[in-house]
């Protein structure tokens, strides 16, 4: 069932198929100009609850070279399709709760005045900062002649302390290398590869909205959807100003398990005394 988008940061309007569970692992390697290189990683459990609701749990961690390896927190994400049918632009509402430490470095989104210098703090110090954050996004996306065009607007608030709302954005465009499917099942067919580009960054906060003291990235992306329901993604990202990391290398692997909901729901039903269907 795999036909996954290549984006690492940007979301399009497609949700997980109902009853399907997707397990994903992603890595981000960063080489800050000041401070130690880091390898941040996260695991996602993405479940299609209904055709208009996808729910997802993230577990984050990171290794900072010459420092330590840490579990940095979890996120619970929900996406709700707002319109029943396809339209010129398709909106999806994204709501996420995060409980992460200041040492989190996965860069799943860039918001507010996030800058490279934030990542130079030693883990022992950064982990003492605890953040409870609500993050909302309006995801807009469109399919057009084989292309996907997506735009995400982000507003996030750290519930710890009196932090202001912070803002960010992500833009993406992608297209399969071939639009028609082959008559034969194949692994290396062009239609299995989707390539594109994404751009993302911060837009300041409620008190100082704008581009000053913000970081921005441009990242080519490619996904390889294998017939066996595995998807591989690769994305080298380039910082666009002096506040950004110079280079981020991201990759991910995911596997979709269809029919998970029905099988697990049936198991729960039998556990509570129901009959085997």
């Amino acid at each position: 069932m795999a036909q996954e988008s290549p984006y690492i940061v940007t979301y399009d309007h497609y949700l997980e198929e109902p009853g399907s569970l997707e397990l994903e692992y992603f890595s981000t390697f960063g080489a800050p100009r000041a401070g130690n290189d880091f390898h941040a990683f996260w695991t996602e459990f993405e479940y299609g609850a209904t055709a208009s609701w996808t729910t997802e749990i993230y577990i984050d961690g990171q290794t900072t070279f010459n420092d330590s390896t840490l579990f940095t927190g979890f996120r619970w994400e929900n996406r709700f399709r707002l319109l029943q049918q396809e339209h010129f632009v398709n909106p999806v509402l994204y709501i996420e709760y995060e409980q992460i430490s200041g040492a989190d470095k996965i860069l799943k989104e860039v918001e507010g005045h996030d800058v490279e210098a934030d990542y130079a703090t030693p883990n022992a110090l950064a982990r003492q900062e605890h953040n409870h954050e609500i993050e909302t996004k309006l995801l807009l996306s469109k399919a057009f002649q084989g292309w996907n065009i997506a735009e995400n607007t982000l507003a996030a608030k750290n519930l710890t302390g009196g932090n202001p709302w912070e803002f960010g954005y992500a833009l993406g465009a992608s297209r399969p290398l071939a639009l028609k499917a082959s008559a034969h099942r194949c692994t290396f067919c062009r239609e299995n590869f989707i390539a594109g580009v994404e751009m993302y960054g911060g837009l300041g906060d409620r008190h100082s909205f704008g581009l000053h003291d913000t970081s921005h990235y441009l990242a080519p992306v490619v996904a390889w959807n294998l017939p066996s329901d595995w998807t591989l993604r690769l994305s080298p990202g380039f910082g666009l100003n002096n506040n950004s990391h110079g280079f981020l290398l991201r990759w991910g692997v995911s596997r979709e398990f269809s029919g998970f909901g029905a099988a697990f729901g049936s198991m729960i039903g039998r556990f509570f005394g129901g009959r085997k269907p």
Partner: protein, 148 residues
């Protein structure tokens, strides 16, 4: 705040997952329930009138069969006979529907009934799926079987 927030989030997640799993278990589509085919009739006239641009493509049915196995068989059954979540595509309403109407359903889904939108498949692939679905016959089965 920390502990309360963590417990509240965990409880909300477990509740949401339980409700959605219960909903999944309850899903079953009977071929006798003709209302499952009602969305076909809701396709706009302009969409219904569209012809399959790949109807003369000799590979369209075979390619559609592979796409069906990857994306559709989970719900509609391997032979399109219907499954727990999706209705039979061998039934008269589907066989009598125009290619344009089936394409419209593929593109827009039937979100309220649990069928996702499939516009993430490029338009030519959706037409290949239409070619395969229109080739299905209740007696002889599909004209082209998906490759394992």
């Amino acid at each position: 705040m920390t502990r309360v927030a963590r417990r509240t989030a965990l409880a909300a997640f477990v509740l949401a997952l339980t409700v959605s799993l219960a909903a999944q278990k309850g899903m079953s589509v009977s071929e006798k329930d003709s209302s499952v085919y009602a969305p076909l009739a809701k396709a706009p006239a302009k969409a219904t009138a569209r012809r399959n641009p790949l109807e003369s493509d000799p590979d369209a049915v075979a390619a559609g069969a592979n796409l069906f196995a990857q994306h559709c068989a989970e719900c509609h059954g391997e032979m399109a006979q219907g499954g727990r979540k999706g209705p039979s595509l061998l039934a008269d309403p589907v066989r009598q529907a125009s290619p344009g109407a089936i394409f419209w359903i593929l593109t827009n889904g039937v979100v309220r009934r649990g069928m996702p939108v499939w516009s993430k498949l490029p338009e030519p692939q959706r037409w290949q799926l239409v070619a395969y679905i229109k080739s299905l016959s209740p007696r002889s089965g599909p004209a082209s079987k998906p490759q394992k």
